[in-house]
């Protein structure tokens, strides 16, 4: 247990926050919902043990709100999952994101936890990551001196690692509205039905034309070191005819792909057969629904 006290700052707008970050050191951390930060400090996690200053970003209006900007849905970094679940735009246009958000933690957690907190923390089991990846989301990042927008894929570097610098903040996440020809689903497996760390997550978006896969985007979480697109699998599937045989082949191919990425671990004996099985089931249910 730490005995030093932690200072908490509450900037009221973005520029105030950016000037705080401009000369920030490693001992400064952003806190949004705090559902990862506070538990991390309490558990003496290496990532948080040296924290001396927390900057609470919940009062910054610029990083709130959900709106349409240039055919993209732009979600403020500090939007909580409860906010997102109440938004019709998300429910209608980004149903996979809505479903992933609804599966997170419990009502109490969703009332605090934010979307940026989820992918900046970048745990292997962060539930929104696979979904945001198949939606080709991009991340807006600002510092006092710069502003950049990069794809989420690039932003995420490894378990609990991202491209974010200490003087930067994620302001928004922008998600292109997929064309109506895409169908897809999000799948989460946990050990129970609420407050459950994902054992497996899958996100699939598929554009099928005349029984042929025109485009498919597949991402996994918890079975890979971080949520990731399985591009080899996507390439393999494109142009193929949709049928039961092929779904089985594709699912088994996912098994091979995951072995390549992660090797065999203590959990593989269970997770490997199950991820293939449930990927197949997911493909079948998407096909069923698009008929």
């Amino acid at each position: 247990m730490r005995s030093t006290t932690i200072e908490i700052l509450f900037p009221r707008n973005l520029s105030e926050a950016l000037s705080i970050f401009s000369d920030a050191k490693e001992n400064l951390k952003i806190i949004a919902g705090g559902t990862d930060v506070v538990t991390g400090i309490q558990q003496e996690s290496k990532r948080f043990i040296d924290t001396e200053v927390l900057v609470d970003i919940n009062r910054i209006p610029e990083i709130k709100g959900i709106e349409v900007r240039k055919k993209k849905i732009s979600v403020g970094a500090a939007e909580t999952f409860s906010d997102i679940l109440r938004n019709n735009l998300i429910q209608n246009e980004l149903p996979l994101l809505w479903k992933a958000c609804s599966s997170i933690g419990s009502v109490q957690i969703r009332n605090r936890a934010t979307i940026a907190g989820n992918f900046v923390n970048n745990a292997p089991c962060a539930d929104t990551v696979p979904v945001l990846l198949v939606y080709n989301a991009t991340v807006e990042i600002e510092s006092l001196s710069s502003k950049r927008e990069i794809s989420l894929q690039e932003f995420l570097q490894g378990p609990y690692k991202t491209q974010l610098n200490v003087n930067e903040i994620v302001t928004r996440i922008n998600i292109p509205i997929p064309s109506k020809t895409f169908v897809g689903d999000f799948y989460k497996l946990g050990r129970r039905r609420a407050v459950s760390i994902s054992r497996i997550t899958l996100a699939v978006l598929m554009d099928m034309r005349g029984g042929i896969i025109d485009e498919i985007r597949i991402a996994s979480g918890a079975v890979t070191p971080i949520g990731a697109r399985l591009t080899g699998l996507e390439k393999f599937a494109e142009g193929k005819e949709v049928n039961d045989r092929f779904f089985k082949t594709l699912a088994s191919k996912m098994g091979e792909e995951i072995i390549k990425i992660t090797g065999l671990r203590w959990s593989s004996e269970y997770k490997l057969p199950v991820v293939q099985q449930m990927f197949y089931q997911l493909l079948k249910s998407i096909e069923q629904r698009s008929l």
């Binding site: 005995s3 558990q43 419990s106 050990r191 407050v195 098994g255 057969p273 199950v274």
Partner: protein, 793 residues
């Protein structure tokens, strides 16, 4: 239900409900005192080690430390225990399990102490570990408590008839081995206690203590003071489930030692991690059952061999395993029985009392086996149970004849199968062969045939289990309870019993009983604070005994006082000798003259006449007897019966089991508070479902993996759909109008019912709890090699 009752059997909101939901109720950690210090524990990350030395030189002069407490500071007995004195207050020689505490730092900043405690240098030598209870009695096994001469804590047996001859006469024989895991109580409130030194008056202790009188006995022995110099007050308790007994006695003793040395109030409060690390748990059992039966399903012989993992200390193991040995055959009349139960020491977390107390384990084994017999013979689970069920006048495995109460086993079974439409569903869901797929880890990429057709993914199943349970302590020991009742001159009443409110709603139950007997309302009764200096010792609040025993005492007290009031009424209102006075709805009636007076008027009158309207009621259980040598006796003076039907959906791809419905039919005798009784069912079933599907403490090199609720998973409200409580109120002469036990019966059979439902759904039997994802898909458990949490990067 008895039609004459006016409050008994109604739905009464618990008296502490509003205080608890509004945050007003004071729990142990809410108490603060001037000059209060904190105590923080010194432990080492080892499950078995010899302590060579402890060096405090780096911190002993630190200002933040008011006192360092070690075994040398303990004025009285240095080792304690509920049955055997084998557990050191501070381990200065040896650590035998990872929760063990070597010493304690006392000071006013808990945070600073937690940092300083890391600077105590402990030199220790690791000793070989015993974590497998099946190996604890091996010749070459290291002795965990050498004084004990072996790693055997206790060995109980029950013998009836001749099992070998019975097997010879049997048409069929089945033999199976079942296991159950180590279970954490998971009370919402971690342990907390404060000891306040009172100079010549000893010490006062306020804490989250399940059994104040047990704590008093142990504290007094540890600080070497007479019982009257140790006053224990129970704070509102945030759950216990049997778990705030030994641990809280020891924490109270440590706090008392520190308070006397520092001469200041000292508080100990645990984090969740410390709570799971140090507190005792429910015993894992390894159970071998061999059963011989006839073509018609009549069980002729049953031979049972059980090893219970007692962990590092004896705690309640002798009594827990005694209940197991008595009840292990299940509620069936069997001619030839031989049951052996041994509890052994290991370096695992120690195990003691937990809701169920030695019954959930054998019920899981026994009720799984009953279904296997039925399947083997091609008959239904209902039929196999009816053929063998205990009935009025049956003789149990221990040779006890069941009489003097309604033996309602078949009644609860019938009611449950009717309510759940069991027979039809069971037949419809029945699978001839296993539906789960086999996987080969050497060929992890799935073959086409290993994929499940989408409409076969979710399989429904239904299963049932029955149980009987001996009420209260049985032959464990003397069984009495007391209750204090004092009527004020306006008709309001003070009530206190020597049993404790552990969240079960006991105070409300007792208020209803007193209100019924006095013809007043439960709201008129104020339940006093539980304090060992105010009321006679009534034994521990365990064994689902408070309603039965304490209820008997409350009724006795109320009847003594109502007798005095009736006498005055007769005299004052000049009623004839044969007239009958009764109290109802705050009014006093004469059978002949009708309404005579208000209750409050009679109370005032009694007061003015100088009549004593305070008393202590008392209840003593009828005698039971037990012959440990022959394993025979009338183990308990009465029994309760239950049947639960579980309906589940199993995902055969992932191994997820969802509980769609539990129909829980119980005969607790007379129901006192309907709302409280239903609450017991909801809670017990949920705990039982956790036992069935999720829960289990595992260790790696003796160290616990699941130290918080991110890893130790208990069910949420989303994991179980419908729980339907149904009560059959059998007649009994004991306690308050035949109100018996419900708390433990509701939990003990749920896992067995769920496991049987899973068998019905997927066509495969599972022998090892919990039936988690890996168990269902792979038929085994998987654990990471290290204890560290994934998120600690």
């Amino acid at each position: 239900m008895n039609k004459e009752f006016s409050v008994v059997g109604k739905r009464v909101i618990r008296e502490d409900g509003f205080d608890k939901i509004t945050g007003r109720a004071k729990f142990a950690d809410d108490y603060k005192f001037d000059g209060m210090l904190y105590a923080v524990m010194l432990r080492i990350p080892s499950a078995h080690a010899k302590i060579n030395s402890i060096d405090f030189s780096e911190i002993e002069n630190n200002e933040a430390i008011s006192a360092i407490i070690t075994s040398a500071d303990v004025p009285g007995i240095k080792k304690t225990g509920l049955i055997k004195n084998d557990q050191p207050i501070f381990c200065d020689e040896k650590v035998v399990t990872p929760g063990d505490v070597l010493a304690m730092l006392v000071g006013n900043s808990e945070n600073e102490l937690r940092n300083l405690v890391k600077k105590a240098k402990v030199d220790y030598t690791e000793l070989p570990l015993i974590t497998d209870p099946a190996k604890a009695l091996d010749q070459e096994a290291i002795l965990i408590h050498p004084d004990n001469g072996s790693n055997l804590i206790v060995n109980h047996h029950v013998k009836k008839g001749d099992v070998e001859k019975g097997f010879e006469k049997s048409d069929h024989i089945l033999e199976q081995t079942y296991t159950t895991p180590l279970i954490e109580h998971a009370y919402i409130e971690p342990e907390a206690v404060t000891a306040i030194p009172l100079g010549f008056n000893g010490v006062k202790i306020i804490g989250s203590i399940q059994n104040p009188f047990t704590a008093r006995r142990i504290v007094a022995a540890v600080i070497n003071l007479p019982l009257d110099k140790v006053q224990i007050i129970q704070a509102h308790l945030g759950g216990s489930f049997g778990g705030k007994d030994d641990t809280m006695c020891i924490l109270s003793a440590r706090a008392a030692v520190a308070a006397l040395k520092a001469n200041c109030p000292v508080k100990i409060r645990y984090t969740r991690e410390e709570s799971i690390l140090e507190s005792y748990k429910r015993h894992p059992y390894i159970m071998n059952y061999k059963v011989g039966f006839s073509n018609s399903g009549k069980i002729i012989a049953m031979k049972i061999n059980i090893i219970a993992d007692g962990g590092a200390y004896a705690s309640m193991s002798p009594f827990v395993t005694w209940r197991s040995v008595v009840q292990a055959t299940g509620p069936y009349e069997i001619e030839n029985v031989h049951t052996e139960v041994r509890a052994v020491y290991t370096n695992n977390p120690y195990t003691g009392a937990m809701r169920g107390f030695g019954s959930p384990q054998p019920i899981f084994a026994n009720e799984s086996l009953m279904d296997e017999i039925a399947i083997h013979l091609g008959i239904s689970p209902v039929e196999i149970r009816k053929v063998n069920a205990l009935k009025n006048g049956s003789i149990t495995a221990t040779g006890q004849k069941l009489e003097n109460h309604d033996v309602n086993l078949i009644q609860v079974l019938d009611k449950a199968i009717y309510a759940a439409d069991f027979q039809n569903k069971w037949r419809a869901n029945k699978k001839e062969k296993p539906l789960t797929k086999e996987f080969d880890f050497n060929n992890p990429v799935l073959q086409d045939y290993q994929y499940v057709e989408p409409d076969k993914l979710i399989q429904k199943g239904i299963g049932l289990a029955v149980s009987y349970r001996g009420c209260s302590l049985g032959a464990e020991g003397i069984d009495t309870a007391s209750a204090y009742l004092s009527i004020q001159n306006d008709g309001t009443v003070y009530l206190l019993s020597g049993l404790a409110e552990n969240g079960q709603g006991m105070r409300t139950t007792f208020a209803i009983i007193a209100a019924e007997a006095l013809g007043i309302l439960p709201e008129q009764i104020f339940y006093l604070e539980t304090d060992t200096s105010r009321i006679p010792d009534s034994g521990p609040t365990v064994a689902s005994r408070s309603t039965l025993m304490g209820g008997g005492a409350v009724r006795n007290a109320a009847e003594i006082l109502s007798g005095r009031l009736k006498k005055i009424v007769k005299e004052e209102f000049k009623l004839s000798e044969e007239d009958v006075v009764s109290f109802r709805e705050n009014l006093v009636f004469s059978r002949k003259k009708g309404l005579t007076a208000k209750f409050s008027e009679v109370c005032k009158l009694a007061y003015s006449l100088g009549i004593n309207l305070a008393t202590i009621g008392y209840y003593k259980s009828p005698s039971v007897h037990w012959d440990e040598k022959s394993g025979h006796g009338d183990a308990y003076f009465t029994y309760v019966y239950g049947c639960q039907v579980a309906e589940v959906s199993v995902n055969i791809g992932t191994g997820e089991v969802y509980v769609n419905k539990i129909t829980a039919v119980h005969d607790p005798g007379t129901v006192i508070n309907k709302l409280g009784a239903e609450g017991q069912v909801y809670g017990g079933v949920t705990q039982g479902a956790g036992y069935a599907l999720f829960e289990g403490i595992t260790t790696e090199k003796g160290l616990i993996r699941e130290l918080n609720f991110d890893q130790y998973l208990i069910p949420t409200s989303k994991d179980i759909d419908v729980i339907k409580p149904v009560f059959v109120e059998g007649k009994d002469s004991y306690g308050a109008w035949g109100a018996k036990s419900l708390g433990e019966p509701t939990l003990e059979l749920t896992a067995a019912a769920i496991s049987n439902a899973v068998r019905n759904a997927v066509g495969k039997r599972f022998f090892n709890l919990p039936l988690n994802l890996e168990e269902i898909v792979l038929g085994k458990k998987l654990c990471p090699q290290e204890v560290k949490r994934g998120s600690l990067q």
